[in-house]
Point group: C2
């Protein structure tokens, strides 16, 4: 496996689709899942976490779904990974120095004085990773994808989501 789970992959792809979505027709989590060919119930679960983090806002009811909670340029990739992987650190220092046989009886005070050197190295590496992830926003990613793919794909996709929305709302808004 990898350090980040598949939640991060699913979530980022979903949010990228939301970034290109018109304001008035929020796709449901089911729409997003079926469009990508992944599990609808799992995507639904991811979105509850994304909502708690404020990255998306939900709209209930028959025509409801999700829209982004903030502007695309104010949501970073780091925001998404933090929301989906909870607050999972790179390294969980268990302070095993405290178990050392020499200090089994008289607990040493100096362990609390400073951060474990190993831990410090890990914290630094983690911070660099986080800085990097924070540099890219959903707006950056969405723009990149739009430029990379031929226009027809984007219009096809927009059409598909619109059709789904229309079907749910019995074509009230369109036609």
């Amino acid at each position: 496996m990898s350090l980040y789970g598949s939640s991060v992959e699913y979530g980022l792809h979903c949010l990228l689709y939301l970034a290109d979505q018109p304001e008035d027709s929020p796709p449901s989590s089911r729409d997003l899942a079926e469009f990508q060919g992944i599990s609808p119930s799992f995507v639904a679960k991811l979105f509850t976490r994304l909502e708690k983090a404020g990255l998306v806002a939900s709209e209930k009811g028959i025509g409801g779904g999700f829209r982004l909670g903030r502007a695309t340029d104010s949501i970073s990739v780091l925001d998404v990974t933090d929301a989906l992987e909870e607050n999972k650190a790179l390294f969980d220092c268990k302070e095993i120095r405290g178990k050392c046989i020499l200090y089994r009886d008289k607990r040493p005070e100096r362990h609390n004085q400073s951060v474990c050197s190993i831990h410090a190295v890990m914290l630094e590496a983690e911070q660099r990773m986080r800085d990097s992830l924070a540099e890219t926003s959903l707006a950056d990613l969405a723009g990149e994808v739009r430029n990379k793919l031929p226009a027809k794909i984007n219009t096809d996709r927009a059409q598909w989501f619109q059709d789904r929305q229309d079907r749910r709302r019995k074509r009230k808004t369109r036609q």
Copy 2:
């Protein structure tokens, strides 16, 4: 949990003790485990991985144990994490674009043309993390720890390992 498992923590601590060890008396994996109050069988397992990566060299037999496979300044923290967490990437891109409902039938060729944009962001972040981990060597860490702790602790530790070694070898070298 954290992204890196406890193998990394155990392994790094063990290697740090090896860094301060005199050449002629290699501690056994059991010595290292009992000194730190952690599971001997698990530490033994870790050392087979460290040996395969060339970070330690083993010596069999009754007085045997482990010594570092290279100089302390040529073993980085990254070397250790790579050895213990296999080749676990930060992000495992499953290319779910290929499952998209629009291309279910006619597989698009352009997916292979370029790296997924999301994947690219992750690769960059991972590289920065790896660069950071590669900057610190066992020599750096060992020096830091030596300076941080009072001298007595270091001599006590050296004495403890020496006693263990002597007990195994029935006090051939000492006394």
